[in-house]
């Protein structure tokens, strides 16, 4: 039973953080594409801007790993 809750918690953490990242990247990506149409030289900066929200899913991934390892779900 505990293992199931551990797995569900880890999945929820990753899912929520991934959705948040996706939402943020969609907004930044849209604005970035519009900016690129006018200033193609901003390509590098925009790629970096799009990568910034990935912190959320990466930290989500780490928390999920910690939940699995610390919660005894790692086998």
């Amino acid at each position: 039973m505990i293992t199931m809750w551990v797995a569900l918690s880890a999945a929820a953490v990753l899912a929520v953080s991934a959705l948040a990242t996706a939402w943020a990247q969609s907004k930044i990506g849209t604005a970035g594409a519009a900016a690129l149409a006018e200033k193609p030289e901003l390509a590098g900066t925009i790629v970096i801007l799009v990568a910034i929200p990935e912190t959320m899913v990466i930290l989500g991934f780490i928390v999920a790993v910690l939940i699995i390892l610390r919660g005894g779900g790692g086998g």
Binding site: G44, T45, V47, I48, A51, I52, E54, T55, I58, L59, F61, I62, V65, L69
Partner: protein, 640 residues
């Protein structure tokens, strides 16, 4: 590093002004700076006659650009720095006008031919379908023809229409149906000429439109128009090729002259604009500008020899100018030079701040290698980089990118050895070899600690660099950066002591030191300091992505290896594994590059980087700089 710059002032008698300005342009080393005008001192404005010439040359430049554009010539190329006389400008004006007209006529002809071909191509299928019937009909004055296109939906009623027409028009009537692309049908009707009006009325009543021919063929009967249109379709490509060839010949013969003309006109206009930035009195002149400090002595010597001993060069004291107006030149050792490409994505660093290129050159490959951390992928990346490097043009962006990729692949190989990874867990799977330092698949906490540890190092280094940058002009901010660096280290020490990695006895002193540092931080940075401190600690944690991306990469590689034997036959499994490794390699190169850049730009640079530098753009010829030995002759020859 940022090259130290010097501000120079050229002084001389008024009559040597033009010579001195030409000399500066020919040397192409000095970026002009605006000279402050005082009473009795003014900019060297152009005389009315020269001002008129400037207007003419601006118009000529626009003509030359238009001619080059019409010929499809790319941006101006370097030509020669030879002098331009009034006669040459006049010749170029005639050349530009003539070439522009010819090129425009050819371009218009090409457009018209292209449009005609596009129009006829639309009829091509229909023309080919009805052409045999039309040929049969040609030369028979008793018969006439009509062509209609019946849509696919109306084809069912064709048979009935044919029968009804045959009954009313007699045996001489015939109808041929040709299937067209998309299900439509081309219907060709042949009938005696005397029934022409009746068939037109019947077609109109049945709402069947005749095929509308292009305007120039509408007056002709179908049996005359169809062969002409088909013949025209064959002729057009040859005519188009002739036009293109003539335009290419024009570009080949007149292009170099236009490029030379553009460079010379732009030179003249640049020189005229430069005069506005200088200062003259009745008897003397002043030109000021920037150039790298190391080039001052040689520049002085060249100016004196080219403009004469009456023109002197003096260095303006450092106290007389501010850092914000100084242009920036970056210089780095050969090994670090390609990494300037990564700095070029941001605004230039301000003069007097720190050029981050050497730090990026060390940390970028290190972090990239730590994330990828696989001998196999490292070798693949290195091989790919070598291949592209071999083919890329010297000094191209692609060449620089490969020169960045090579150290990255080297670090990936080194970390791959330490992590015991060769396309994932193949060494353990095949040879039972174990990692030398860290197993990223199992030791997640150790990998996390290593990533955050690297974050501590880079963030503390950033804060120290920030303190050094601010020390000259903002000592309070420098103190704040220094205290922040110390506090990050104290937090780390307290945490390590709390988890008994360091002796527990260190915990209390670390916490006490933190509490003591806190008021100093607020004094230096203000009330916002605690928030900034938390943000700094957040920046350190952001380096956890090194571990996260690395773990994801190794897990994908392991999944790829597990496919062998898991999916059908070994061969199919091997194919899937190779495909998966290829995908993982692509992700494994792109993702670490983006995230390593982000760690540098956002976390590391945020602590010390001062953007806002102006690029160094020396005043010179648009064309290639002539040799220094020719300087005197050229300066003497060229007068704006």
């Amino acid at each position: 590093m940022i090259v130290p710059m010097a501000r120079l002032r050229l002084l001389g008698p008024r009559e040597r002004f033009d010579v001195a300005l030409r000399c500066v342009q020919t040397l192409g080393e000095l970026q002009l700076a605006d000279v402050q005008h005082r009473e009795g001192v003014s900019a060297a404005h152009l005389e009315p006659r020269t001002e008129r010439r400037r207007t003419q040359l601006m118009r000529l430049l626009s003509d030359v650009d238009a001619a080059m554009h019409a010929l499809g010539l790319a941006g101006p190329q370097a030509a020669s720095g030879a002098a331009a006389t009034v006669a040459e400008f006049a010749r170029w004006a005639r050349l530009a006008a003539r070439t522009r007209t010819q090129a425009r006529q050819l371009a218009e002809r090409e457009t018209a031919l292209g449009e005609e071909r596009a129009l006829l191509t639309r009829y091509h299928e229909f023309l080919v379908a009805v052409a045999p019937d039309v040929r049969r009909l040609a030369g028979n004055p008793r018969l006439t023809s009509h062509a209609v296109v019946v849509p696919a939906s109306g084809r069912a009623g064709l048979e009935g229409l044919a029968n009804s027409l045959r009954e009313s028009l007699g045996a001489e009537f015939s109808m041929t149906v040709h299937e067209l692309h998309g299900g439509d049908a081309a219907v060709f009707l042949v009938l005696p000429t005397r029934f022409n009006e009746r068939i037109e009325a019947q077609l109109s009543a049945a709402h069947v439109p005749e095929v509308p021919l292009p305007p120039e063929y509408r007056a002709l009967p179908l049996e005359a128009a169809v062969p002409k249109m088909l013949a025209r379709l064959i002729e057009i490509p040859a005519e188009l090729a002739t036009c293109r060839e003539r335009r290419a010949t024009l570009a080949r013969t007149q292009g170099p002259q236009l490029v030379t003309a553009r460079a010379a006109i732009q030179d003249w206009l640049d020189a005229a604009a430069a005069r506005e930035r200088t200062a003259v009195t009745t008897h003397g002149f002043t030109i000021e500008g920037w150039l790298p400090e190391r080039a001052v002595a040689e520049f002085e010597e060249r100016v004196t020899s080219a403009a004469g001993p009456t023109v002197i060069v003096e260095t303006i004291a450092r106290e007389a100018w501010g850092a914000e107006e100084v242009p920036v030149v970056l210089t780095n050792p050969r090994l670090f030079h390609p990494f300037e490409l990564l700095i070029a994505l941001l605004p230039l660093p301000r003069y007097g701040s720190i050029d981050p290129t050497p730090f990026v050159a060390v940390f970028f490959p290190l972090i990239f290698g730590m994330i990828l951390g696989d001998v196999g992928y490292g070798l693949a990346l290195g091989g790919l980089a070598l291949l592209v490097h071999h083919r890329a043009a010297p000094d191209s962006m692609m060449r620089s990118a490969t020169e960045i990729a090579l150290p990255c692949s080297l670090f990936a190989i080194i970390f791959g050895v330490l992590f015991g990874e060769f396309f994932g867990d193949l060494p353990q799977r095949l040879f039972h070899l174990h990692p030398l330092v860290l197993d990223r698949e199992k030791s997640v906490f150790a990998a996390l600690a290593a990533a955050v540890g690297l974050g501590v190092v880079q963030i503390v280094l950033g804060l120290i660099l920030g303190a050094i940058t601010s020390a000259r002009h903002d000592r309070k901010h420098a103190l704040g950066s220094g205290v922040s660096a110390a506090m990050v280290l104290l937090v780390v020490a307290a945490l390590l002591a709390a988890f008994k990695i360091l002796p527990s006895a260190l915990f209390t002193p670390s916490v006490i030191a933190l509490l003591c540092a806190f008021p100093v931080l607020i004094f230096a940075e203000g009330i916002i300091a605690p928030v900034e401190m938390l943000a700094t600690l957040g920046n350190v944690l952001s380096y956890a992505r090194i571990m996260a991306l690395g773990t994801a990469s190794v897990m994908l590689a392991i999944v790829a290896n597990q496919m062998v034997g898991a999916v059908g036959s070994t061969a199919v499994g091997l194919l899937f594994a190779l495909l998966f490794h290829l995908v993982n390699f692509a992700i494994g190169v792109f993702s670490p590059a983006i995230h390593t850049l982000r760690l540098h730009y956002v976390e590391f640079f945020g602590k010390f980087y001062k953007p806002g530098g102006r690029r160094f753009q020396p005043f010179g010829h648009r064309a290639a700089n002539p040799a220094a030995t020719n300087t005197t002759q050229q300066v003497a020859r060229r007068q704006p």
